[in-house]
Symmetry: C2
Subunit: 287 residues, 2 copies
């Protein structure tokens, strides 16, 4: 017997491009319309589809300052360390800074905390470009990803603590609690979480409670997308982090009646739209 | 069959009078040797045996400033609120301040945090005199005893956080973690825990792991003694908080071969000595 059973698809209230990413893309597109020799220091956003699209428009992505000889360099939304900016300036390159204002704020605060005599600590992922750029804004910044890094903290010290903008309040709090149990003299903690990211996390978690299956769309390197997927997975085991429709193993849809979709801050609308359109017409009863 | 089975008694490496309490008692004894009209604003320490002994030497314990007409007033180690001190001065009374220097520091920090624009928060027990005195050092201090008080915190605020000196690092950390999950703009946390108290907690917990039964001696109102008992109880269910040997229900000793003894910072040596001596000659096999 053939049953037609189209999927009911719900999209999170808040998802997709955030202000910082939208700005970086818009800045890139404007420069590319005028100039030929345009570079991005590292992928402009953590989304390979978007990076490929901009590459076709002429954006050259490089890993190191040394790879650039002339032209315009775009500083992506994750920012760059002061040392890198200085190198770019030394080379006489034209710099266009598209660092997210919230990330810029973290960098500034790290410098100020150090000036005020605090040992700077950032709660975040050591290898993430945002964290790397903040590390470059003060001396010997301690990066705390989780409890296993607590041994790096100096004893009986004045710690000036910031957080990678895309972490969750839950993780931020857990790490502060862990530090509070250690031997410290003072903690000055500046809340550098992105409120937009928190709202997206809340919106995603709320949605995934209501559906049979949840999709989190975005780059596998994207910290905020991974965070969304982690949070949803805790609530709904049927959560899948995918980059686009093509990556979906359609067998997971079998028997599912309702699906939720959210997307990271670096996921372009066309990826979300394509995914949702395909999902809506997918006949899960016939899969 | 009669079996003689004397108890092996181990006393914690660090226990009994702390510096602050020893100082308050010593100051009281010196004044009492010279003067007749000596008052303590609230019990000088949270130990009824010691309070009774000093009462016999002439120390009058009063609950309110209004009860004192003339003479010398001793400020106990827990301190007093600035408003109370001002009232005492207005009355022209002779004030002898025996506030513990660590408690004095908490009071000073609370005032400084407020001056710097922070909303002052103290992690501690609302009705404890130390906390009450700190509350008097700034406007609208928020007292957080546990998670159930978190609703009192203002949203998106700059919080200046201190801790009652006798809390445990574990509780301090747990509360900081809980606050870190809330919506705050900045946290400035000064570690105001008494290191002496922490060492006593560690010493007590270490000891109670090695014994069949654990005794924590000290006033029932004494915050630091209660903390010792709480921490020991988590590790050794056979933990008893008593004020002195007379309070001991001897039947709990039945079958026990090793006993641990610790005491709060306001427990005089004679109470500990008496308890240990009696316990050592107690024949648990015959109980």
């Amino acid at each position: 017997m053939y049953t037609s059973d189209f999927m009911k698809v719900l999209v999170a209230d808040m998802c997709g491009f955030c202000h910082g990413v939208r700005n970086a893309i818009s800045v890139a597109e404007k420069i590319l319309a005028k100039e030929n020799n345009v570079y991005s220091l590292g992928p402009i956003i953590h989304n390979k589809d978007m990076v490929e699209r901009l590459a076709k428009s002429g954006l050259k992505t490089v890993g190191k300052v040394e790879e650039i000889r002339s032209g315009t360099v775009l500083i992506r939304s994750h920012g760059a360390a002061p040392e890198q900016i200085a190198k770019l300036k030394e080379k006489g390159l034209n710099i266009v800074d598209a660092t997210c204002i919230l990330v810029k704020r973290v960098q500034h605060i790290a410098g100020e905390l150090e000036k005020d005599g605090y040992k700077v600590v950032i709660i975040g992922e050591e290898n993430h470009p945002e964290v790397q750029a903040v590390v470059g804004c003060a001396r010997d910044v301690v990066v705390i990803a989780d409890e296993s890094d607590l041994h790096k903290l100096p004893q009986n010290a004045k710690l000036g603590i910031v957080c990678q903008t895309t972490q969750s309040p839950e993780h931020f709090g857990r790490m502060l609690g862990a530090m509070g149990r250690c031997n410290f003299s003072e903690l000055k903690v500046i809340n550098t979480l992105c409120r937009e990211a928190i709202k997206r996390q809340e919106s995603a978690v709320q949605l995934c409670r209501q559906v049979d299956i949840m999709f989190v769309l975005g780059g596998l390197e994207s910290a905020n997308t991974r965070r969304l997927a982690e949070l949803c997975k805790k609530v709904n085991q049927q959560t899948f982090h995918l980059q686009n429709w093509n990556e979906l193993d359609k067998s997971v849809l079998s028997g599912k009646k309702t699906a939720g979709v959210t997307a990271g801050a670096s996921t372009p609308d066309w990826i979300i739209d394509e995914f949702v359109s395909n999902l809506k017409v997918f006949d899960s009863g016939n899969s």
